[in-house]
Amino acid sequence: MDVLLAFTRPSLDWHALAPELTLLAFGTLITIVDIIWDERSKQAMPTLAGMGLLATLVPILTLAVDGTERSMFGGAYVVDDFSLVLKALFLISGYVVVLMSVDYIRDGDYYENEYYTLMLTSLLGMVMMSSSRDLISVFVALELLSIPAYMLAAWRKGGPRSNEAGLKYYLMGVFASAVMLYGMSLVYGLAGATSFDAIAQELGSGPSNPVAVLGILFVLIGFAFKVSAVPFHTWAPDTYEGAPTPVTAFLAVASKTAGMVALIQLVFVAFLGREDVIQPFFWVISALTMTVGNLIALRQTNIVRLLAYSGIAQGGFMLVPFAVAADAPARAIEAVVIYLAIYAFMNLGAFTVVLAVARKTRSGEIDSYGGLFRYAPGLAVAMTVFLAALAGIPPAGGWFAKFGLFRALLDAGGGWAAGLAVVVAVNTVIAFAYYARVLTQMWFQPVADGDDRPIVVTGALGAALTVTLLATMAFGVLPGLVGHFGEVSVLSALGG
């Protein structure tokens, strides 16, 4: 029992925790402001939230400049380049989402202040996730980012679809996390410790052990759910369609990224030794996810739902490198991180356009995009760029993400990898088929219901659009920008 009593207060590295604390501070600040001047504060909220996110970037920059790797709580919580890159990514995408939300939330009947509080909280969870190197902290981070997301998904109080979206997301979410926890308990049982390094040592090698396999699988499945990998994707389309569009964007980008981050940690640090489980698992999952996502997307008529399935397929692409995690770890991580970064911008951009168009057409149907190019050429071109990026066509950013996958696969080499590469190739083709349906509507079709008044793009949306558009194109023309982050994150993640 003395073991249990021997408790010493861990040393806190405030600089390392600065981002989380800033975020937390702004979250509370918003709440307080809300309590003090509730109604009158509405206008200030998005600004506050945005400031909060930007402010949080400051300590991240200082940490990046400082560059030393910081570890706390016995390695449960680590701040290294990898985590910093992803924290930054979370915050920037969060900021874009806030920009997207401004008008949407203001114009609909929503609880406005809480909305931003919850979003900041969820982002806090994500930021923590990127630093967590321990089953417990991963679990806590996961729940911290999920629970607010459940609520946000149901945020349109009156809307049955939104409620249903929330319910589905919630039930499936907790169910999955229960499964995951069970897996974690087994893993813990075998490793006798919760930190990834320890797990890596215990499970790393040695004869295969059914319990270990079961544990690993369940843990992975928990996160596979988070990144909406087939067959654990079922919640995604419904939730995306039902949830308020900014929230959808948030889920599709930020929370998916969070899931990926966790997976990177688990796969490349904790379970790397068990490639006999990991690689086949992800081979199957990624192939399934890409293909099923793309195929179903072919049949969608609602743009958001189409983007949902496209998002699932994209997730499948991101999972591809995991299939060669052990054979080419460095390239694999690089590929995933790069993909995440580029994906965040191109997908957010696409959603931004959807929002902008929906403000006029009040419809999510693809047909409502007819002749967009005639009356809103700017938006049409922007959408074209984003879809091209998603399809992976140079010079829009996406090609480099896809390129990363191929690179990882071929670096690993071997028949399986090559096979998966071909699957990816085929899927890029299928994918374009449905992106093209949107393009076709925008460019080739007459204006829907003859109403060709131009679309007014609000300042916030305009800003979001600019950011995403610039980033997408920049990543396409000078992939070095994003490639660099991929590189640095590899070194730290693999502790090299």
């Binding site: 409620n163 319910l167 974690m184």
Partner: protein, 99 residues
């Protein structure tokens, strides 16, 4: 100590929970079943922790309990919301969106 019995208990509880989630139509009952699963996990954690003679297992369990509380709170809220809008908590009914 008798690790296996605890594990079996946990497994059984987990299985029951899963069954409940997948079979019960009543939203609240589904939530309960999930709690069941989480507690199965707790049992495992504690058992393993003791077996290894380290505290982390129990710490983990505490975290789980705390989080579970929060989750259920949110869950009930959502179910309530649905009940208000749809006059039903039968999870079968909620399929506006499909395909």
């Amino acid at each position: 100590m008798l690790l296996n019995q605890f594990l079996i208990l946990g497994a059984v509880l987990f299985a029951i929970g899963v069954y409940g989630v997948l079979a019960r139509r009543n939203g609240v009952m589904v939530l309960m079943s999930i709690e069941l699963m989480l507690n199965a996990v707790n049992i495992n954690l504690v058992a393993f922790g003791v077996q290894h003679g380290v505290v982390s297992g129990q710490v983990f369990a505490v975290f789980v309990i705390a989080v579970a509380a929060a989750e259920v709170g949110v869950g009930l809220a959502i179910v309530l919301l649905l009940y208000r809008n749809r006059r039903s908590i039968n999870v079968e009914d909620f399929d506006l969106m499909r395909g």
